[in-house]
Point group: D2
Chain length 248, copies 4
């Protein structure tokens, strides 16, 4: 596996360069940043790219890879519906090439979300607490909203009633936001990075999933798993969870 | 120590009867409920009473005890300013008699609140999460509000700035209630009883206090501690924390 | 669904009687204890039995049910290999009848164990902390051992190395027991009932599953789920997890 | 306040240089490393030093400071009884100069230990779980041992019985180490840094203190608090807790 890292001088890219370089089964053959010629990828004989560039660059990067039969693992954002549609057309002409577009490479977070969605229907009550550093500008976090949507959907599909709540007096909004019938609470605390708890309760028992992201290094096992798997999954795949063996 | 339990047929009273009966250094000499004559207390030779009756009855109960030189540990609610003032006048005439009025007998909860108030000034960020059964009608809990007030006061007294918070977008109120500059979050989950977490954070570290009340039995060590201490603290005492050796 | 409860006067049986009685889609038609004639089950027209009796009685109870085409949900212990073998022979003659034998009816515990086994291979480190009341005579708990076995097996099957551990000096055994390469720690604390945490860690992230059993009521949703499912799963089934939709 | 940092090129020293430089009420006037002449401290007009050097150097560093009437905050290790005794003799000749020797500058850790020692006597059961990165060579951690010693001492002084424990079967040592009658458990998990939980339990309730150290930055508020306080505490002080207002 000969890997080129695109967006190699950004924060995620720097970590990816280290991770690929340290993996016994991979050879780091190119590191490209803004302004570098994509032709370098081909010249270096890359069989895989990791694209951690910016929204402006990622479509050109991935198209170049696919056109040359190079598998791509993509963490860059900006893949809206028209872009995805154009990529799928291109992949139809290169049916042996695989592309993974993953909004989240932290295995723990991907697993916690999948398990929460699966377990939510078996409990009477479900809530989410997300905890982040105090420099975050939005609340609740995108991951919490996504988790609530999946849990809420699973509960509705199974005919589970909304979580019981006798609250009649909450003048200051202590019960938090409600997303898909799931209460979501956002804590902002200096010292934290990115953390999430899913709380499920029934009479006499509680089940809790907690995920802690302490630093960016946590994304690298997911990036390497993506690289090791993408060639065996031709076509377009969304989300790292598709590569995990989660059947229980 | 000869103890009479007042309000002995209520839920707290029933537990107190068991606890006093099981204590090696106490003799249970009377159990009074609604309608029983207070004279029974004196006839039984009680040296102490535990009053766990209702707001309508508690003032008469405690006055009867003090008038007969019997020490009183009081968990009943309803002690507003006029009642307290009348009680203090009466105690001035019986200077050797002790009365403890305690809104909370759970030692763990009393300790957690005291520690949270003490530690709050040493951290950049402070938030509270309270978690209760879903049949609770008010949010946040009274204990959480009281804890936030004590923490906020301590931070202001020490000149600590409000917790940093860059949130600019929180359309659904995920950041919870704000009490004395402390964000307070209320979770309602089937299976829980009464729980509280105080979260304190600074760069690189977090300190968390968590208290769990699993059932009413948790109040009994506090009741027994009150009984064992009240005779040595003549006059009126507010709050069980006054009896704890908390100087560090 | 017409349900008879066997072992109805034991602690679990008492809860089951209440749970079946309270379920809209079930009719409680018989409650049998030690010494009652099994014939009562048939006379009451039961379509299902819940057997929460003792090891001495359970085999006769279940055989009686199967012989009469009555589905059985079994929480009683004592089902060793010869008994299971005899039961399977009997079921071969009654292919339309279903039997569920479940060592654990707490849905949260069953789910936590299944998820832990599934996730263990994706992390560098894995440990277990189980926490129980101090009257428990064995350590670690059977659930912790079973969880460690499943996690260890999954890690070996995936070729994952044992969790890293540089400890060279641990004179008093603080690192706990080692079960299938997984360190297992047992806490005994007054106030607790039965709790378990599975901790998974990789560079920069942690994933934690925690299950709390606060009281026996937590088993009843699992018993009801068993009753509602057993008729559609003829033959012998082991473990409630087989009835949960856990494919992710 | 004019501050010189000694041991300025080490890991802690580098952080201290940044912290002093960033404090509005302090001026960073000198940074000394191995081989630099102590005379620089005096030439720079320092009123305070922070000594984060090595055991070989710290005694000379601190003596130089005290001889010149410069207050010292010391995080370096190696202060055995003879060294401390010599320092106290010297301070007797410079009664206006203050020295703080602190083994731990993390405020949260210092507070958690103090609170644990204070609360331990009020609960029937007490245990400690410490959690660290897997490259740590000793178990349990020094902080856990110190916490257990303080808790055990406090419980014995108050006449509290050892925590109840009915365990009769624990073939693999899951109950962990026992330090001063307190069970101590050590978890080693990739992704973690340094964390500790103190668990206190009585019938119906639990009180938990948790401290998380995520990185070395967590020591700096303690270093700055030491610098701001040391001049008002002439003579030798041991432990940062002496500077905290912990009376409750």
């Amino acid at each position: 596996m000969r890997v080129a890292v695109l967006g190699a001088r950004g924060r995620m890219g720097t970590e990816a360069v280290k991770a690929v370089d340290g993996a016994d089964d991979m050879e780091l053959v190119a590191q490209l940043g803004r302004g570098d010629a994509l032709e370098e990828i081909r010249e270096a004989g890359a069989t895989h790219v990791v694209d951690l560039s910016v929204p402006d660059a990622t479509e050109d990067n991935v198209r170049f890879a696919v056109e040359h039969g190079i598998h791509a693992v993509v963490g860059a954002t900006g893949w809206d519906a028209p872009r995805l549609s154009r990529l799928e057309e291109l992949l139809a002409q290169r049916p042996e090439t695989g592309v993974l577009i993953a909004p989240n490479f932290a295995l723990g977070s991907v697993l916690a979300t999948a398990f929460a969605a699966k377990a939510a229907r078996y409990f009477e009550s479900a809530e989410i607490i997300e905890l982040h550093h105090p420099d975050k500008v939005d609340a609740p976090s995108g991951t919490a909203v996504r988790t609530a949507e999946l849990m809420g959907q699973a509960r509705r599909d199974a005919g589970v009633a909304p979580s019981p709540d006798a609250t009649v007096k909450d003048p200051d909004g202590a019960r938090g936001a409600v997303v898909e019938d799931i209460h979501v609470h956002a804590v902002r605390l200096r010292g934290l990075v990115a953390h999430q708890e899913v709380l499920l309760g029934s009479a006499g028992e509680q089940l809790t999933f907690r995920h802690d992201s302490f630093d960016r290094a946590s994304f690298m096992p997911g990036v390497l798993l993506g690289l090791r798997t993408v060639a065996s999954r031709p076509g377009l795949t969304h989300g790292l969870d598709s590569y995990l063996d989660l059947a229980l």
